[in-house]
């Protein structure tokens, strides 16, 4: 957005008109020391925990350690211009960021400033970054699904609106890919997405933005960026910033999905800050409250009741529940889920999607380990068709894994074992899915039905995906109505079952894969 000089002077004129001169009373302190982004300030006896402090040069810091004679402050942004003896002012405010519809389609930093070169963000609503999660009374149980568009996840580890589902795995196992597919799949559903990139390379972030733009998914997405080059303080607050932006939609009776990519790096940033603030280190040198930084963040992802939405909006929105679904990402080192931060986040979330490098390298992508991945609340939210058909898939895979291990040693297997192994191989194959091609409920239903009813059993394993692709395009061209009705109702009645069955049977007769 380029302004011409006359517009700028108009803007300034307006600001001056609206400027009311007032005598300001504040508390002041002086900078005692500046070390590694941590500033000690003498004075400021009235400072609050987490309060924004104003430094010279229009820069801000956050008061974190309130000690008897000094305050430990973390700078948000550059601190090189601050010197000993500078005056520091209390602002009396906790850090706030802009929220609202205007943020959709934008890329912002951890303080909510636009960094995508599309001009200022046109919103006057602000929200504190740290808020207390909704209470028990305000909540509603999770009973609506959110479709991530991936067969292996929607069928086996379903996620409900308002759930917290962890995506965990080593580097290069496709964690971000799942998150991006999930965002793309929300196109046209009305679910707003927030992608929080913490401590990532700027190049990967710009790739994500480009991919989302390519798939038309930026229009319903906010991207919050605290890249690896930004200060630890910004990396630490970025998730809270994103969460506040998501809560805005939740509180007005809409559904939102937030992805924290990834919380390991946030914990690192917090560890850095804490050690520099001389807080005592604990396990893996993390401070004592590293559990709390994640628990209070993820607790804010929730589904709130109709009454609560009505109360928050002052009666403007009636009869709607709001939800904020969180998909935190944790990167493990060498598959070690028993490290400190992974165990913490596993225990906080309502289930996890476990990705494995071995599966990824053997071509099973998404590399979801079906045995270790669980969803503690999503089952209640699944659509009927996926629930019915997905149960069979999960069972097939579980039995297959058990048998496959020991079948390696057996030369001849009995008929039923062999059948189960063959079914398992085909289901495993069927669970593969290309990136950026999320599937609708009906498409998934058809594929799963084909597997459950044994249509895949006669195929070569390496033909399964070709068969599926051909079947899907056949269904799309010949039975679009059926797919549409399944997508709308999500039912798996006898009629629908019959309809799918006969459609697949006719398709098989065409022999066209």
């Amino acid at each position: 957005m380029q302004l011409n000089p006359s517009e700028i002077s108009d803007l300034i004129k307006k600001r001056i008109e609206n400027f009311d001169v007032n005598v300001e009373a504040h508390t002041e302190g002086t900078v005692v020391s500046v070390t590694d982004g941590i500033i000690r300030v003498h004075g400021l006896s009235q400072a609050m925990q987490g309060e924004m402090l104003e430094f010279p040069g229009n820069s801000y810091g956050m008061a974190l350690n309130l000690e008897r004679d000094s305050v430990g402050v973390v700078m948000l942004g550059a601190y090189q211009h601050i010197t000993e003896g500078d005056t520091v002012k209390c602002t009396g405010k906790i850090l706030e960021v802009p929220v609202g519809e205007a943020l959709l389609g934008r890329v912002v930093d951890a303080l909510g400033n636009a960094i995508d070169g599309k001009g200022e963000i046109d919103t006057d609503q602000m929200s504190p970054v740290e808020k207390i999660a909704p209470g028990v009374i305000a909540r509603k149980s999770v009973d609506q699904p959110i479709q991530l568009g991936l067969k292996s996840i929607d069928a086996m580890v379903p996620v409900g609106r308002g759930q917290r589902e962890l995506i965990i795995g080593d580097r290069q196992t496709g964690k971000t890919a799942i998150a991006i597919d999930a965002i793309i799949n929300q196109k046209g559903t009305g679910i707003k997405c927030i992608y929080v990139a913490i401590g990532q390379k700027r190049s990967s972030i710009s790739n994500v933005v480009r991919k989302l733009e390519e798939h038309g998914a930026m229009a319903h997405t906010i991207i919050v960026v605290a890249s690896a080059s930004e200060s630890a303080a910004l990396q630490f607050i970025a998730p809270y910033t994103g969460c506040s932006m998501g809560e805005y939609f939740r509180d007005k009776g809409e559904d939102a999905l937030i992805i924290y990519d990834d919380l390991t790096k946030q914990a690192w940033a917090y560890r850095q800050m804490s050690l520099l603030l001389r807080r005592p280190p604990g396990r893996e040198a993390y401070p004592g409250d590293v559990f709390y930084i994640h628990s209070r963040l993820l607790e804010r992802a929730s589904r709130i009741s109709v009454d609560e939405v009505e109360k928050i909006t002052g009666g403007k929105v009636k009869g709607k529940t709001g939800s904020l679904t969180a998909l935190p990402i944790i990167e493990t080192q060498g598959g070690d889920v028993s490290a400190f931060v992974p165990t913490n986040v596993i225990s906080i979330t309502d289930g996890q999607i476990f990705l494995e490098s071995d599966l990824f390298n053997s071509g099973i992508r998404p590399a979801v380990n079906a045995g270790l991945s669980v969803s503690r609340v999503g089952g209640a939210a699944q659509t009927k068709i996926i629930k019915k058909l997905g149960g069979g898939t999960r069972l097939d895979l579980a039995q297959y894994r058990e048998l496959a291990a020991f079948a390696q040693f057996a030369s001849d297997l009995d008929e039923s074992t062999r059948k189960q192994i063959e079914r398992g191989q085909r289901v495993t194959e069927l669970m593969k899915q290309n990136q950026y091609s999320p599937m609708s409920v009906a498409e998934m239903g058809v594929s799963l039905h084909a597997a459950n009813e044994g249509f895949l059993d006669d195929l070569e394993v390496n033909k399964v995906l070709d068969f599926e692709a051909a079947l899907q395009s056949y269904m799309k061209s010949e039975h679009a109505d059926l797919l549409k009705s399944i997508n709308e109702t999500g039912d798996y009645s006898n009629e629908i079952k019959q309809a799918i069955q006969s459609a697949i049977e006719t398709f098989i007769k065409t022999n066209s894969w």
Partner: protein, 176 residues
């Protein structure tokens, strides 16, 4: 600086309590002011920091310097500080002592900075209105700073009331 205040606090507290018991806090206040003044003297600081100067010598020297100024208990206090190697804390101790004293006696030291010198009447009206606001007796130290352009700046400890033109200009600059 903040760490020094932490170290100085027990000394200041002890001195203040003792002074209150004896009711000679003004005397102590003068003593501490004098001691902190001599501690800020460069040549003396060199001697205090010199490890070759033993405790005995230092004690003798300091008592010699201060003999006319300080009384029996203050002598003991000085010896204690030398023994504990905390002589350098004296400025902080004096500052904290003054804070305790002001707190106890119910007055605040207020710096009023204005662009032009205040008249007696203006100073008086400042004092009465500040007294109402802070609920304490006011001890005004007025000074002049042309950089304010106009208006006033009131500093009482940590809190600042900024009614100056330069402060308002800064607010405006931030808004634009």
């Amino acid at each position: 600086m903040s760490e020094l205040a932490t170290l100085a606090r027990p000394y200041a507290e002890a001195v203040f309590k003792r002074a209150k018991e004896l009711g000679n806090s003004q005397e102590w206040s003068d003593t501490l002011a004098f001691l902190s003044a001599i501690m800020q003297d460069e040549s003396l600081a060199a001697i205090v920091n010199n490890p070759r100067v033993g405790e005995d010598k230092l004690t003798a020297l300091l008592l010699d310097i201060c003999q006319d100024q300080i009384t029996g208990e203050a002598n003991n206090f000085l010896k204690l500080l030398i023994e504990n190697g905390r002589l350098k804390l004296l400025p902080q101790i004096a500052e904290l002592f003054e804070n305790y004293k002001a707190d106890d006696e119910g007055y605040v030291d207020v710096d009023v900075i204005t662009a032009y010198a205040l008249t007696k009447a203006e100073e008086q009206s400042f004092a009465t209105s500040l007294k109402k606001k802070l609920n304490k007796e006011i001890n005004i130290h007025a000074s002049v700073d042309k950089a304010l352009i106009g208006g006033f700046l009131v500093k009482a400890g940590d809190s600042v009331i900024d009614g100056s033109i330069s402060g308002q200009l800064q607010q405006l600059a931030k808004r634009i």
